[in-house]
Subunit: 90 residues, 2 copies
């Protein structure tokens, strides 16, 4: 699993990231990992669901992992939640 | 799995739902499912992570499911993403 197969979801519209995932699959990847932190987690779930329901119906959710990551913010460390959704073509 | 063991995460602060999950575990439940839809999905991940990291360290993420649910809104049907995080004590 390299970073090439990873799509980091941020603040842009979900369809931007959907396009990135679909492009990965169409270029021959069997697995694409959708990652996000904080409020973008909801959008990452949207991205995974839109990819599966509309563009790559054979893709399956192989694994979902959640974690907590420390983030430096204005001199102090706070924690932020993260998610990794692994989509795989059989 | 009954609704008794389910905590629906909405727009309140995460700690309200953390308290609900911890109370379920302390009252003898072995499994608590944290559910959310739309933007509350990020908060549901926060809730699961705070419960595990601060209050119920023995709880494990047994399963995470994502789905798409149709929602009636102003006379038309739109889709909304949902998440279910199952926390289990061994």
């Amino acid at each position: 699993m390299t970073d090439e197969n990873t799509v980091f979801v941020g603040r842009k519209p979900a369809m931007n990231y959907v396009l990135a995932v679909v492009t990965q699959f169409n270029s021959g990847s069997d697995e694409v990992v959708v990652k996000a932190r904080g409020r973008a987690i909801s959008r990452a779930v949207d991205v995974a669901e839109i990819v599966r329901n509309r563009f790559v119906p054979e893709a399956e959710v192989a694994d979902i992992r959640i974690a907590t990551e420390p983030v430096e913010e204005e001199g102090r460390t706070t924690n932020i939640s993260s998610i990794e959704i692994s989509l795989k073509k059989p």
